[in-house]
Amino acid sequence: MINSSTNNKIITALSILAMLLTWHGLALLIGKEYILPTPAQTGLSLLLIMQSQDFWPAVLMTVGRGLLGFLISMGLGIILGMAAGFSRVINWLLRPWVTVMRSTPVMSVIILAIIWFESNLVPVVVAILMLFPIIYGNVVAGIRNINQEWLEMARMYKVKPRRIIAELYFPAILPYLLAGATTAMGIAWKVIIAAEILSQPTRAIGTDLMIAKFNFATAQVLAWTVVVIMISFVFESLLGAWENNLTNWRR
């Protein structure tokens, strides 16, 4: 008998197979490698770039920038989000700033960051400006939606404020924070790559993508894209595992 989890895996595998077949069919139909290489040509290209000595430094630098931007956004989002959740004044003070950050087009942010910052820093700054409002908004919502009855109970039993924050507020906003972190992580890699393509740091996946494009090496462009998708997938899984671990009380 097949249980539903194995079943889902089979369906996923079939879906990926269909994706590769479609890609392969389209590539054969077009018949020009510089427009659309086949999956096999892309795989070969991936093996080649992985053997180059610049591959791992580029990957590590890109991942490092992404994580740095993500972690700073998390830190700022938690601290300022809690402050705004507790204080109406702080909430109204921060509101225009966050609104501006939320509505500025990514490309404007990148171009301005290129004018103002050193190229290595540009992707990090752009990631912070894009991710911080997401984390911040979720933390504020978490505090707003906290169950007042729990708070009343804790205060009536005279639990110390420091412990109310650590043992009541923090766990209560955790689901909101994790949802924000997952969304932010998904956006992070797209933003980082876009910023790298325009700011051209020495070691970066975005820079290599751009070089491949200039050389009409479309297989290489796709190979680097696969690398980014893999990075995104790895961090999404890590975050998912962490989330399961932290919210095991729900089951």
Binding site: A154, M156, Y157, V159, W249, R250, R251
Partner: protein, 237 residues
């Protein structure tokens, strides 16, 4: 007298909620305060606990005492186990080894020891309310304020929770102030029953129930029935 409320008045905006309410009680009794919904019973408890201040009148006997609570909702934190939920209110009060003993003892009294490391999501409604009873008694308080903790539960569950509560109280006596709108609960639990008027609440009457708790299981007992009658007459007066 240990607890005194003397001509208490309390209103919100223009609305009078409590008017010239007075009562005097000894320590270590279960005092039931019976009144219709919306009559200001919760406000009365808030005045006793000091969460709210009376507009006029004197309240003495409560301040300076440590107070614990039973609410209508269980108010357990879902990310803490049964043991951790009780520990949450004890941590600032007792040293660690004493907390462990206390928690074990009270969980045993409400027959939940095997569930100490369960999260609330895995317990039934009745079990959760027993945890919150254990939490209220485990907390080092002389006064216990109860705000309709059995409201909305089915009769059988209510009876078993009342039994747990009485057993715990008999082993570990506190001064209990228990508000309810349910005459049957008042008859089963209280040493004394105060009947409140409609809003604004004041005291309509005070009825003593001398029947020992272990003899209150049989609701057909003539003495209990006459007390229930007396309360009923006062309520409908």
């Amino acid at each position: 007298m240990a607890f005194v409320l003397d001509k208490i008045n309390k209103g919100f905006g223009g609305l009078e909620v409590i008017k010239d309410l007075s009562m005097q009680e000894e320590e270590n009794r279960i005092v039931c305060i019976l009144g219709p919904s919306g009559a200001g019973k919760t406000t009365l408890l808030n005045l006793m606990s000091g969460v709210m201040k009376a507009d006029s009148g004197q309240i003495s006997g409560f301040s300076g005492h440590s107070i614990s609570y039973l609410f209508q909702e269980t108010r357990l934190l879902p990310w803490k186990t049964v043991r951790e939920n009780i520990d949450f209110v004890l941590k600032d009060k007792l040293p660690r080894h004493q907390r462990e003993q206390t928690i074990e003892r009270y969980l045993e009294m409400v027959e939940l020891s095997p569930f100490a490391s369960y999260y609330p999501a895995r317990l039934s409604g009745g079990m959760k309310q027993r945890v919150s009873i254990a939490r209220a008694f485990a907390y080092p308080a002389d006064v216990l304020l109860m705000d309709e903790p059995f409201k909305g539960l089915d009769t059988q569950l209510k009876m078993s929770l009342i039994k747990s509560f009485i057993r715990l109280w008999t082993l570990d006596r506190r001064s209990v102030f228990f508000v309810t709108h349910d005459i049957q609960e008042a008859v089963l639990i209280g040493h004394l029953v105060y009947v409140l008027t409609d809003r604004p609440a004041s005291i309509k009457g005070r009825i003593i129930n001398p029947v020992p708790h272990e003899q209150r299981d049989d609701s057909n007992a003539p003495e209990l029935q006459s007390i229930e009658q007396a309360i009923y007459q006062l309520v409908t007066l």
